[in-house]
């Protein structure tokens, strides 16, 4: 059975690109258009991997990532961040939220800054879930 990857992004063009790369590489896909919808699908579908954007309506990837990594039931969810927001900003933001009293969260396994080539994305996915 093929591994399941959830793409969380508000840009339909990015979703189309990611889904086509994933399907060409034999993965099955799910999509969500914002962090809130993404969290719901993670809980319902338990994907093997989440490809997560940062700047989105309703809930950002920063907050969704934090929810995943501070929840015992969800912390094992594998995540690749794919965003136009710089990795440095992502890490500073998480640090600020930790200082405001949130739990500390690990760095993302892989952080890709948009745009990425198909090969680079496929390689990153393969390196995490095979």
């Amino acid at each position: 059975m093929s591994k399941k990857v959830l793409v969380v992004d508000d840009d339909p063009d990015v979703i189309t690109f990611n889904v086509s790369v994933l399907e060409e590489n034999g993965y099955s896909t799910l999509t969500a258009r914002n962090g809130e919808e993404g969290l719901k699908k993670i809980k319902e579908e338990k994907p093997d991997l989440v490809i997560l954007d940062v700047l989105m309506p309703k809930q950002s990837g920063i907050r969704l990532y934090r929810e995943l990594k501070t929840d015992k039931a969800l912390e094992s969810t594998r995540v690749i961040i794919l965003s136009g927001i710089a990795k440095k900003t992502f890490l500073r933001s998480q640090k600020a939220l930790t200082e405001f009293g949130g739990g500390s969260v690990p760095e993302p396994e892989i952080y890709l800054e948009k745009p990425v080539e198909a090969e680079e994305l496929a390689q990153a996915v393969k390196s995490i879930i095979g």
């Binding site: 940062v54 700047l55 309506p57 309703k58 950002s60 136009g84 927001i85 900003t89 933001s93």
Partner: protein, 292 residues
């Protein structure tokens, strides 16, 4: 009443990031989430004879907005704030109301309407329609306009124009929630010209005394919250007198109820709030009457 989530509507020509930064004082009153909205007018990408829908134009405008929003978002994210963004093609009023509903924001910030030589930034009717349809406060910000009076801290010294309507009473409640952001508030009431037409000066003086007494009671409420407050009575045309009071009291913002009517449904914008939102040189915060 808190301002935790704010919708910042920008066409970039009018409201830039420094305008948003000047509102970040609201963090002291609970602001922790900013949602950006950029609406690309349909006419900019609409079909023209022989060209069809101009997808390339849409991509260009969306990416231009995206580049700005990423830059702004990075700044806010690093301060531990939550940020979201919408870049859409369509009707401004519809997109603003739709974003308000989807996000459940507490305040809408929009630029001042004006007619440029080359392009219409926002039409007065768009702003009026947003104020009419939004069931939350709307701040018409006049940040970069050459005639505008603006402060680095717009909520520092608001002028609250009271008319006794449910919306203006709700404004009191709303501003009391901004303790820590407001350093001094000026509360005013305008005795309209028609009330001045009397055979006796005593009648006019009585009206002034009553108005002053009501304002003092409101000031006491603010003082009770630790916000310094001063009452002022003016007489004449409300639009003119409110603007005059804002200048005399060196205020940074005008706050008033958006309607003299209490009912939500079929609500009309009062002529005074409408005129001030469009014409005043001061940022104008319009508070709707609520569900009362």
């Amino acid at each position: 009443m808190k301002i935790e989530k704010l919708l910042f509507v920008t066409k970039f020509e009018e409201l830039w990031f420094d305008a948003l930064q000047s509102l970040l004082d609201l963090r002291m009153a609970g602001l922790n989430h900013v949602v950006f909205l950029n609406v690309i007018e349909r006419e900019k990408v609409a079909m023209h004879r022989g060209t069809g829908y101009r997808k390339e134009e849409e991509v260009k405008f969306k990416e231009m907005a995206n580049i700005r929003f990423i830059d702004w978002a990075e700044h806010l994210f690093e301060q531990g704030m939550e940020v979201g963004a919408y870049i859409t093609v369509g009707n401004l009023v519809h997109q603003v109301i739709s974003a308000c509903e989807k996000e459940g924001v507490d305040l809408v910030v929009i630029g001042r309407p004006r007619q440029g030589k080359l392009e219409q930034i926002y039409s007065g009717s768009d702003v009026t329609e947003i104020i009419r349809r939004a069931n939350i406060p709307v701040l018409v910000y006049k940040y970069l306009h050459p005639d505008a009076q603006h402060s680095e801290r717009p909520f520092e010294r608001p002028l609250l124009a009271m008319d006794g309507s449910p919306a203006s009473l709700l404004s009191v409640k709303y501003l009391k929630g901004l303790k820590g952001v407001i350093s001094e508030i000026h509360v005013m009431n305008v005795i309209e010209e028609k009330s001045l037409k009397s055979a006796s000066g005593m009648t006019v003086q009585k009206a002034r005394k009553e108005a002053r007494s009501r304002l003092e009671a409101i000031c006491d409420e603010f003082e009770g919250e630790g916000i310094s407050a001063k009452p002022h009575v003016y007489a004449g045309k409300p639009v003119v007198e409110i603007e005059k009071a804002a200048r005399e009291c060196q205020c940074t913002l005008i706050v008033l109820g958006s309607s003299a009517k209490g009912s939500w449904k079929e609500r009309f914008i009062g002529s005074t709030p409408e005129a001030l939102s469009v014409k005043s040189i001061y940022p104008t915060l319009l508070i709707p009457p609520g569900d009362a």
